[in-house]
């Protein structure tokens, strides 16, 4: 992004002078280049804040935030050690408050924190790199959702979708986690590039991927104009159980029918897969176990259901393992050893083992991160619909 910023800045004066779009903004100050990925894969981060007392860099390539130092212009900067190639979230802690990097347009869509993204390129293309292969299309859709509200979906259609007009495709539903939005799998997870690359390499089947927003109850409250915090607090505590079912209801009664009406889909359970990360993984397992007639391929990315809830809510899964094994073409569970959900995931997997439910386990290093989510996608996409 840094180069784009420089050229924009010069273009500004050379081609056509356009002052600040936000008219009440203060002067922009000196041009800041950030992040600057250096040849040795170290990165220089810079942030303009002449009056701040302390600015730190926080990022998932660091064990802990590191101090930045201020120059005479008020630009704080730090150069990291060389970083292992990947795409990492980071932000600046300005007097303790996390802010995005204003010199970088690549950002992490999230409802509770603001982070930017930095890509450290590998010497050969990574599984998520933009390569010169045929590209699928990402579409933003608006669909009629629960309680008369309008819902949002991000949909991937594979290369050739518009050309091969008679062909129908299997569908993969992909559910994002707490405080993430329907854009997070696309913008942070690079689902489209991972799948473009796997399809080009003959490793995954062309498929449609549907990425919903995982918290329709929040959207409904917002669209109904419930704007007083007290209203929401009450609504929230009273209707907690109802809300937990909202996502599943919306998926089964609104999202799947909308997709099957508007896209060329194969509509039997053997051509429907579901996966999710974190809270979305929990929603995935619950929606799938409650609707075994709908899904034959089920993946949990860093999530689980406790043995107690399995026995109480989903006893049919372990109770008739032979039937479960016959129904599910794939039950997949991936987790990082440093993930704070590692222990719970192991307990879930032990439960499945004890009940003789077939599943595939994938254990990697790292934590509850989108670096790992990209690995989970790259592992599971080749398994689906095969």
């Amino acid at each position: 992004m840094k180069i784009k910023v420089i050229i924009q800045f010069l273009a500004f004066y050379i081609i056509l002078a356009i002052p600040g779009i936000v008219s009440s903004q203060p002067p922009r100050g000196p041009l800041v280049i950030s992040p600057q990925v250096n040849a040795d894969k170290s990165v220089t981060f810079r942030y303009l804040a002449p009056l701040a007392n302390e600015v730190k860099l926080s990022g998932q390539f660091l064990k802990a935030p590191v101090a930045m130092t201020k120059d005479a212009q008020g630009i704080w900067s730090v150069t990291t050690e060389p970083i292992k190639p990947d795409i990492y979230p980071y932000n600046f802690q300005v007097d303790g408050i996390g802010v995005m990097d204003p010199a970088n347009v690549a950002f992490f869509p999230n409802e509770r924190f603001k982070a930017s993204l930095v890509e450290i390129p590998a010497d050969v293309p990574s599984v998520y790199s933009l390569r010169e292969v045929p590209h699928g299309t990402i579409s933003y859709e608006y669909y009629p959702s629960v309680e008369g509200s309008t819902g949002t979906l991000v949909v991937y259609t594979p290369p050739g979708y518009t050309k091969e007009r008679a062909k129908k495709y299997p569908v993969f539903y992909l559910i994002s986690g707490t405080t993430d939005t329907e854009e997070t799998f696309y913008k942070v997870g690079k689902t489209n590039f991972i799948l473009d690359n796997l399809i080009a390499d003959g490793k995954a089947k062309p498929m449609i991927v549907v990425m919903p927003y995982g918290n329709p109850a929040a959207r409904i409250a917002e669209q109904k104009g419930l704007s007083k915090p007290a209203d929401i607090m009450n609504r929230d505590s009273e209707d907690a159980v109802k809300r937990a079912k909202f996502f599943e209801t919306d998926l089964i009664t609104n999202i799947i029918p909308y997709i099957e009406k508007n896209y060329r889909t194969l509509t039997n359970r053997e051509n429907r897969a579901i996966a999710g990360f974190s809270r979305g993984g929990g929603q995935t397992l619950r929606a799938a176990f409650n609707n075994m007639h709908k899904f034959a391929w089920v993946c949990s990315y860093a999530s689980y259901i406790s043995p107690a809830e399995m026995d109480k809510g989903f006893s049919h899964i372990g109770g008739d393992a032979a039937k479960t094994n016959q129904q599910l073409k794939l039950l997949w569970s991936g987790i990082g050893t440093e993930d704070f959900l590692y222990k719970g995931t192991v307990e879930f997997e032990d439960y499945l083992k004890a009940k003789k439910v077939n599943f595939k386990s994938y254990v990697t290093d790292g934590g509850h991160t989108w670096m790992n989510v990209k690995k989970y996608m790259n592992e599971t996409l080749p398994l689906l619909f095969q």
Copy 2:
């Protein structure tokens, strides 16, 4: 957005405890609700920054930034006067530095500043409101661009596009301004909702809208890994003229053929329109005047070409006004009286008048803002392809 944030936060503890996704983030601190639109259309903005010396609210609904006051928890807040309904960019000036509102997911895609968006709803739906009408689809496309690079496009297809499989549509190319990205017309301009509403009301023809990134030279430099500022500076100053032509070349030789190959389009000039805002308006006028065989409908949103450049570079436009008037079904120029490009636009319009070139002029109040861009779209979309 505020309500979504509250429910997410509660969901956090009630449904499934998922700590911070960015593991090296400091604790999130108290929950902040912002922006909170009040019943009288005043808005309360809040920002957590216990250690900041000064926090101000900056927004296009204000003449100048206003001071915020800090409470015992370190949350700065201010409640505005009632605000005229619209969607406004705003940000917080934290010790003089502009940052997005971390409690709000609605943001302004831009390469040089970070701003969030607040919508003050009107008592009846606005032209850009999400209404219960059939919705078109927004797609993010990757296309082969100049110099072997991959370009990005945001494309709107109208409601019914996937159903009516034999129907072909006219195409409207819409170019964003300096430091904006290919997402800005969608995320800030609400082009999709404006057109959904106009189509539903029978006021605009169903059409495809193509929104490119306006600065392909910057993308090429970035994809080639020209990461040293000095390289870019040199490249930039040496190739300024070449860069100015890049956009037009990319549009004519790559973008239009890509769209016409991959979408069901009507491909004669009478079914091709072009418009742009700010720098994108200048690019629009130059691309159209250089390629009269390609476009019959041309709109400038708050931009112009100087009489000197018209005489030097585009003398055919005024030199044979009869031919120009026969070729252009629409030449449209819109500007706000407080826009810093108002004077130049008036000179451009006076030049056209003197040369007897037909055009439509639209003058409104307000400045160089996306509130006005929404008006320009709402005025011009009903005129196209009629």
